[in-house]
């Protein structure tokens, strides 16, 4: 199958690669480039485990073709911590026991950070609504909502929602 040359900037680092037209962004990230922090739960955009940021928006990378992402800025879980310091969302997920097996967690955190960076409401029902595209089978969500609530206050305190 003919391949296409594309460029992806992942967590600030530029990568050039060749992919089949049908290659999913998540497979390009994981299998071609080794960003395996992003997980695959359903390959049908229903579970959200594969959520990454594409030019600042949370997208499900199992339903984006790698060629569609050509030239875009991709943010993954590997890029959340900076300079050895956890992002507030990572800190809060640990503090609030917002994860158990950890498989949905990267996607859950990428959805939550996009939501909070857009200035999303910290009302608990609104947080639950914001997470509707991300499934977790372990936690029952309550501690995830606590984690997002707590991260929101840290992010508001540190840099403000933008």
């Amino acid at each position: 199958m003919a391949e296409h040359d594309i460029t992806l900037t992942i967590n600030g680092e530029e990568h050039e690669l060749s992919v089949e037209p049908r290659t999913l962004l998540v497979h390009a990230l994981r299998d071609e480039l080794g960003y395996t922090g992003t997980n695959i739960g359903c390959e049908s955009s229903l579970c959200g485990a594969c959520t990454v940021h594409m030019d600042g928006d949370a997208v499900k990378s199992c339903t984006v073709l790698a060629v569609q992402a050509d030239g875009s800025d991709i943010g993954t879980v590997e890029g959340l911590a900076e300079g050895g310091e956890f992002h507030p969302i990572q800190e809060s997920f640990q503090e609030e026991h917002g994860l158990q097996c950890g498989y949905c967690t990267p996607g859950m955190m990428m959805t939550a950070t996009a939501y909070l960076e857009e200035g999303g409401s910290t009302d608990r029902d609104d947080i639950r609504h914001a997470l509707e595209g991300n499934l977790c089978r372990c936690t029952g969500y309550q501690n995830i909502v606590n984690a997002v609530e707590s991260a929101a206050s840290k992010m508001g305190g540190a840099s403000g929602a933008d």
């Binding site: 299998d31 997980n39 579970c47 590997e78 029902d125 977790c136």
Partner: protein, 802 residues
């Protein structure tokens, strides 16, 4: 009411056991560093994909692999004949074993690849190996299988009722077993003397486990050494090694099984499936690493499903509300073949819990296990125990309604009294300890039960339907002892193994045969050992999930890890302390009986300045220059802990709901749980386990259900059609606890992994039933899941189809 986590650095060593410390697993999981099976890459790694039957029941007439073999990147396409050929690796019969036998169980052959017939949709028929993942799936699509379709049956009651399509020649009428427990004559006597009876027919619907990580495996064979390595999504690597070694005919000592990070299991990763065996076989055949990553669709079709019961239950009552006897008749779907522990789940894990929290004088249960043209059924979170608690707690409400009693009062009247433990039930179980009334009272108090009925009445006058549902559940964890489970049919022991090893510098490595897949064992086991050994939490490393590193093990399921694995580690730690005590006595020139041990330090009784730390004894043990006469060097111990009984956690969950009569929609006003899981090692982890368990129980009550059509097609085969609860679907839960120690293990712990799931479903269904009670709804119309449509139809039927 949420438990507040603390940083382990801020906890005194003496307080570490029982503290809600943050998990040490989390940093690698929140950064993406954790390595799950599909993250593994190996040089020359090939990919595997399965050709699966699209039919639920058919004869396989011909398999044409020629087009697939010609495709780009394809290394080979294989069928059952290739597996058992003398030209290919593996001396095994390539039949999946069953791990639990029952009297007269029909043990039907379950081939790794279908050889003559397929009996469920999704059953593997052929396997493809290719260079790339996409190529393997393309080639699997190109394999041409010629089927002759047969009629299918998926309902267990229909399957065994006579005249249904037959699955196996060796199992007439599709009956796999006909199991009885209890005393039928005593139950007949109870009914003969009863003032009243209450009965209920119910379905406990089939569920799909849906761990977020679909199953996966990477197998690698090294021809130079003859070693086979299998990294896989497993809850029990040693058990998988043993069973797969048998399937493949491969020597166990050359077989290395590893559980990397595992993304949830809920039972589905206990069992033995065709795919992992095929990954091993193709890796041996091609002498290169082979990966299989199942898709979500494949998970729906092939991960062992849970539940699937059709049950009739009836109780004999006095007018005062005493339950004199209970009879239960269940038809349990087993699916097309016997999954590893499939026969145990609807029998010994179900019928033995039918006394609930109650002192029932007579119980009889009959369970017929039915072969059906559907995915094999096995343990899914709770495994038999949710089905039992559902039956008991639903019939208690029906009984209360029959007698005009309050549902709390009939429960209170029949509880096993607190002074009657250990309590021998009429269905074999001996409950270790309990205080059922205190837990129920606490839960009722939390929801304001006293005033609820007035609010309910006032709401009804406004046309609003509120309901409260009580669930007093009982669980059995840490199935044991091994001798007993052997008598019941288990083909394995159910001990657990733990090793504690000091290094010469005084740090600790501990190895346990359980397998973490979200439970936080690395944290909780280190808490246990920090307390036992009196050493710093940070100086302890926990190793699980690797057959080359961990001596032996039975794995993580049935809420057994803390009670059985934790106890094995405690036993080993105590052996280490005893050896250290001898070393300390020798160095301190005191009699061993005069040496005290406290907070990691040995000292001479009455002379605390003469002391030696446990780390110093470790140094001395490895230096071995000056040890007591006859003592071997080194400081480590291994235990195989075999509990004397199950543990029996319990509690009361209460749901308060409102039902919209116009839409049938159920919304939560409140959800509380009071759980007694014995001593708690880490209350934050306990809370997380309960919350997650409740979400799965609510999922069953309101949203989830595997549905087959009449041809055996799984029509709920994706997350689009099968509703795994989302954040919005799960209410805020208010949790509390009582603590009744387990009297027979060294930690006093009972287990918590399944409690929420066992508790929740009937709390919700009872609440909906209560809400609708003024409408005269037929309880048969309230089978789960109580979707808006189901509830709306129940109301419509009650109103005469208005």
């Amino acid at each position: 009411m949420s438990v507040k986590s603390v940083d382990p650095e801020e906890v005194d060593a003496a307080e570490i056991l029982g503290s809600a410390i943050e998990r040490r697993e989390d940093p690698r999981l929140v950064t993406g560093e954790g390595v799950y099976t599909d993250d593994i890459q190996r040089p020359k790694m090939a990919h595997m994909a399965l050709v699966r039957s699209q039919y639920a029941h058919a004869e396989v007439k011909d398999i044409d692999t020629s087009s697939a073999e010609e495709m780009d990147g394809v290394a080979g396409v294989y069928t059952f004949e290739d597996l058992v050929s003398e030209e290919t690796p593996g001396e095994g019969e390539f039949m999946l074993p069953v791990g639990w036998l029952l009297p007269d169980l029909k043990q039907v052959a379950y081939p790794v690849l279908a050889n003559e017939k397929v009996r469920y949709q999704g059953q593997p028929v052929a396997v493809v190996v290719a260079q790339e993942r996409y190529q393997a799936h393309d080639a699997a699509d190109a394999v041409d299988v010629d089927y002759e379709r047969l009629d299918a049956v998926t309902d267990p009651a229909e399957a065994v009722s006579g005249g249904a399509p037959q699955l196996h020649d060796d199992a007439p009428n599709n009956v796999a077993f006909d199991f009885e427990l209890g005393d039928a004559d005593a139950v007949d006597d109870a009914f003969a003397s009863a003032d009243a009876t209450a009965s209920l027919s119910l379905t406990n619907q089939r569920l799909v486990p849906n761990a977020m990580e679909p199953r996966a495996a990477v197998a690698d064979f090294k021809p130079g050494t003859g070693e086979l390595e299998l990294e896989m999504t497993t809850q029990n690597p040693h058990l998988h090694r043993l069973l797969l070694a048998g399937v493949l005919g491969f020597p166990e000592h050359k077989f290395h099984v590893v559980a990397p990070e595992v993304g949830g299991g809920f039972g589905s990763k206990i069992h033995i499936y065709p795919e992992e065996a095929l990954a091993c076989w193709t890796a041996m055949l091609h002498e290169r690493p082979v990966k299989i990553q199942l898709t979500r669709t494949e998970s729906f079709l092939t991960d062992a499903h849970g539940r699937g019961h059709e049950t009739d239950v009836e109780v004999a009552l006095t007018n005062e509300g005493d339950v004199l006897g209970m009879k239960v008749d269940t038809k349990a779907a087993l699916g097309a073949y016997l999954s590893a522990f499939g026969p145990a789940v609807p029998t010994f894990l179900y019928a033995t819990l039918l006394s609930g929290q109650y002192a029932l004088p007579a119980i009889h249960c009959n369970v017929v296990g039915a072969f059906t043209n559907s995915t094999p059924v096995d343990a899914y979170r709770g495994a038999g125990r949710p089905e039992a608690s559902f039956v008991v707690e639903r019939i208690m409400d029906v009984a209360a309604d029959t007698l005009g009693m309050d549902p709390a009062d009939i429960r209170r009247r029949n509880f096993v009294p607190v002074d009657e433990f250990p309590y021998q039930t009429q269905v074999a179980s001996v409950y270790d300890s309990g205080d059922y009334e205190t837990a129920m009272d606490k839960a009722l108090d939390m929801v304001g039960y006293e005033s609820f009925r007035e609010r309910q009445e006032a709401a009804r006058e406004q046309g609003r339907y509120l309901g409260v549902g009580i669930s007093c559940y009982i669980e059995a964890c840490g199935i044991a002892p091994s001798e007993l489970v052997g008598e019941l049919g288990a083909q394995a022991g159910l001990w657990e193994s733990g090793t504690v090893r000091f290094s010469p510098s005084g740090t600790v490595m501990a190895y346990c045969g359980t397998a973490n897949h979200g439970q936080g064992h690395e944290t909780t086991y280190a808490q246990i050992l920090a307390d036992e050994l009196g050493v710093d939490y940070d100086t302890i490393e926990i190793v699980e999930g690797d057959t080359d590193e961990v001596q032996q093990g039975m794995g993580t399921y049935g809420s057994r890890s803390a009670a059985v694995g934790g106890s094995a580690l405690v036993e080993s730690a105590r052996k280490v302390v005893e050896k250290s005590r001898k070393i300390a006595a020798h160095h301190l020139e005191a009699d061993e009986s005069d040496i005290e041990f406290d907070a990691g330090e040995f000292y001479v009784s009455g002379a605390p300045e003469r002391s030696m730390t446990i780390q110093e004894t470790a140094g001395a043990a490895y230096l071995a220059h000056d040890l007591p006469d006859g003592m071997e060097p080194g400081l480590e111990a291994t235990s195989f802990y075999d509990p004397e009984n199950f543990t029996f956690p319990f509690g009361t969950h209460v749901a308060v709901v409102e039902v919209d009569p116009d839409t049938g929609e159920v919304t939560f006003e409140d959800y509380v749980g009071v759980d007694d899981v014995g001593n708690q090692i880490n209350p934050k982890i306990v809370e997380g386990q309960v919350q997650g368990g409740v979400a799965q129980g609510i999922g069953q009550a309101l949203y989830e259900g595997a549905v087959y059509d009449e041809n055996g097609n799984l029509v709920t085969g994706s997350m689009q059609d099968y509703a795994v609860p989302k954040a919005e679907h799960v209410p805020e839960m208010r949790l509390d606890e009582t603590i009744t120690e387990c009297p027979h293990n060294p930690l006093g712990v009972k287990g918590v992994g399944e409690a929420g799931t066992i508790a929740a479903a009937q709390a919700v269904v009872n609440a909906v039933d209560d809400a609708l009670s003024p409408l005269g709804v037929d309880r048969r119309d309230l089978d789960m899941p109580l979707t808006g449509e189901t509830v709306w139809r129940a109301i419509q039927n009650a109103e005469g189809g208005a």
